[in-house]
């Protein structure tokens, strides 16, 4: 069964957001999403400094099954990306909430994450899919 930590926020399109102490947020894809996509073979990361729109495309995840766009859950500027995914895209499969994070963003609106789904609300959506 796919896991879904309580301390994160989620989107319908299967991304997660974690609020960090310094005011930035970390984003990634959920355990459910990585399970559905299968073994990752390539992650196309956003560029540091890129301005992202809410629900705007910010990268591509390519698995043995498909290539899927990855959307930014919130608007903001990319301050760091997980370079390790370039050589080890399988981290998205192994540790989607930890070493498999995708990017760190400085949000335009610091409370943007709170408008997203809770773990409970997301679990319901993921179960129906």
């Amino acid at each position: 069964m796919a896991t879904c930590p309580d301390n994160l926020f989620y989107t319908k399109s299967h991304e997660w957001v974690r609020e960090e102490k310094d005011g930035t947020v970390t984003i990634g894809v959920t355990d459910h999403a990585q399970e559905a996509m299968g073994d990752m073979v390539f992650v196309d990361l956003p560029k540091v400094g890129a301005k992202l729109k809410e629900k705007g495309e910010c990268g591509v995840l390519e698995s043995v099954k498909s290539a899927s766009d990855f959307y930014s859950p919130i608007a903001g500027e990319v301050v760091e990306v997980n370079e390790k995914l370039s050589s080890s895209p399988d981290l998205v499969n192994k540790e989607p909430y930890d070493k498999g994070w995708i990017a760190r963003i400085k949000p335009d609106n610091k409370d943007a994450a709170k408008k997203l789904l809770s773990a409970d609300a997301y679990t319901k959506i993921a179960d129906e899919a």
Partner: protein, 484 residues
């Protein structure tokens, strides 16, 4: 794994009957252009060459040997007389640069085929230039772009693509310089018109649609969609990938489409396993004719000609050095002449009948068919999502197990909308007996899912190579043999 022929090489070994005496041929090329080191060639005997390639050919898995229900690919049987006739020396030895007056027979075949194809799709314009389906798509979308620009309508930067589309659609639109806007499909399989309405406007250059869609159902609102797009000034692109289903029954031109490509290598009986080659003619409505890719085959008062001028002054240009894959187009022409109008009607009818029969049988055997309440087109979807949850058996496991039973796997994990899906297309050339055998195998597999799931997880067992490491193949593709 078989050895590469280079690995059989023994220094000094020759196939003596095949040696060409190069010294007797005077080649007039300046020395500075000639290579000085010898190319790497395998040194093998004639018998070794014959044995190597015959063995490899025996490992082929093809429509000629096995049932091949690869959804969206229309792996129908290609009658061998197409090959025989297209291989007549007069066709085979014709040079692409031969003058039109020396190619009248070939050009007549192409012109007649073009006339028949235009009638089949209900459109007045056609170019045979595109070398394959993807290039046909690129040509069609480029024509849409050229059309808008020619009217100084420069704000149309978006192409609408439904989420059920073939991956080539967004790729072609992007290649042609457009931004792709996705629209969702409703649970019943048709396009969500409310969402479409929100996403179209003066920025819309057009929409790319496959009808029937990749979900194996006919888009019932097509005339509404056509009106919505035309009302905002956009054009409709028809992806001809699924034409087999409606052949002789419905015409894209009548549905309101403005431009399309055909996959001769799917619908019109020419080979396309292992790289084809393909063939992707584009057809269009009257107002897009000036933009067709060149050259275009025409008939003048006296003869057939290859034309790059005249009507096509706003052409998007050449797509290759010549005009399409001549040998493949000949095969499609012969296919059309063999079947005639009545025969083509029957292609559409039997493709659909076989598909609906198989869909019902698999549903009866306990497989989930997501659009069972709708009539299938020439193909349909089965979803293994329940089996994945309950028994941890995926669509991939079932696909691999089918190989053990001598059946080619259906398309897996496409369309992306349906989790754990198999897209199954039996085509019109399979008999009821063959389809029943496939049902028998699938019924056995359903039993195995419940009783011996580990057998499926480690499948295939009877093939020369077992389960391949697809992650490694994708991450570290090793396609070229190199001397150690």
């Amino acid at each position: 794994m078989s050895e590469a022929i280079f690995e059989l090489s023994q220094t000094g070994r020759k196939a003596n009957t095949q040696i060409i005496n190069l010294k007797s041929t005077k080649i007039n090329i300046n020395n500075k252009y000639l290579r000085t080191n010898k190319p790497l060639m395998p040194e093998v005997s004639e018998l070794e060459v014959i044995r190597h390639y015959t063995t490899l050919s025996q490992e082929n898995f093809s429509v000629d040997t096995n049932f091949y229900p690869l959804g969206s690919c229309t792996m129908k049987y290609n009658p061998h007389c197409l090959h025989t006739l297209a291989s007549l020396p007069e066709f085979l030895n014709r040079h692409p640069y031969a003058l039109p007056e020396n190619s009248q027979g070939f050009l007549q075949c192409m012109h007649e085929m073009q006339t028949m194809l235009k009638e089949i799709v209900g459109m007045p314009g056609m170019s045979l230039a595109p070398m394959a389906g993807a290039q046909g798509e690129f040509a069609g979308v480029s024509m849409i772009r050229a059309y808008h620009l020619s009217r100084k309508d420069t704000k149309r930067t978006e192409i609408i693509v439904p989420d059920a589309a073939h991956g080539t659609n967004p790729a072609s639109a992007t290649m042609a310089g457009f931004n792709v806007v996705e629209v969702k499909t409703k649970p019943d399989g048709d396009v969500d018109l409310k969402e479409l309405k929100k996403k179209i406007g003066p920025q819309t250059a057009g929409i790319m649609l496959t009808n029937p869609s990749t979900l194996g159902v006919f888009e019932r609102q097509i005339t509404k969609i056509s009106k919505m797009i035309h009302d905002v000034g956009g054009l409709l692109y028809y992806d001809g990938a699924n034409l087999n289903a409606i052949l002789g029954k419905a015409r894209p031109g009548d549905m309101g489409f403005d431009v399309l490509h055909l996959n001769l290598h799917k619908t019109f009986g020419t080979p396309h396993g292992g790289g084809g080659p393909g063939s992707g003619p584009v057809a269009c409505c009257k107002k897009l004719i000036p933009f067709l890719p060149i050259p275009v085959i025409k008939k003048s008062a006296k003869q057939y000609i290859i034309s790059s001028t005249g009507d096509h002054h706003k052409t998007i240009g050449h797509l290759s050095a010549f005009c399409g894959n001549a040998g493949i187009m000949l095969r499609a022409y012969i296919y059309l002449r063999l079947l005639g109008a009545k025969g083509l009607d029957r292609v559409g009818e039997f493709a659909t009948l076989n598909s609906n029969y198989l869909m019902q049988k698999l549903s009866d055997a306990g497989f989930e068919v997501p659009f069972i309440e709708r009539k299938a087109s020439h193909e349909f979807i089965v979803s293994l999502r329940k089996e994945t949850k309950q028994y941890h058996i995926t669509a991939m496991d079932v696909a691999k197990r089918l190989l053990d039973y001598g059946k080619h796997a259906p398309t897996v994990y496409f369309p992306l909308l349906i989790p754990e899906c198999l897209l199954i297309e039996p085509t019109e050339t399979e008999s009821k007996q063959e389809i029943d055998k496939f049902v028998e195998v699938m019924t056995k597999i359903m039993h195995e899912i419940k009783k011996v799931p580990e057998m499926l997880r480690s499948a295939p067992h009877a093939t020369k190579l077992r389960r391949l490491d697809t992650v490694k193949a994708a991450k570290e593709p090793n396609l070229v043999w190199k001397k150690q």
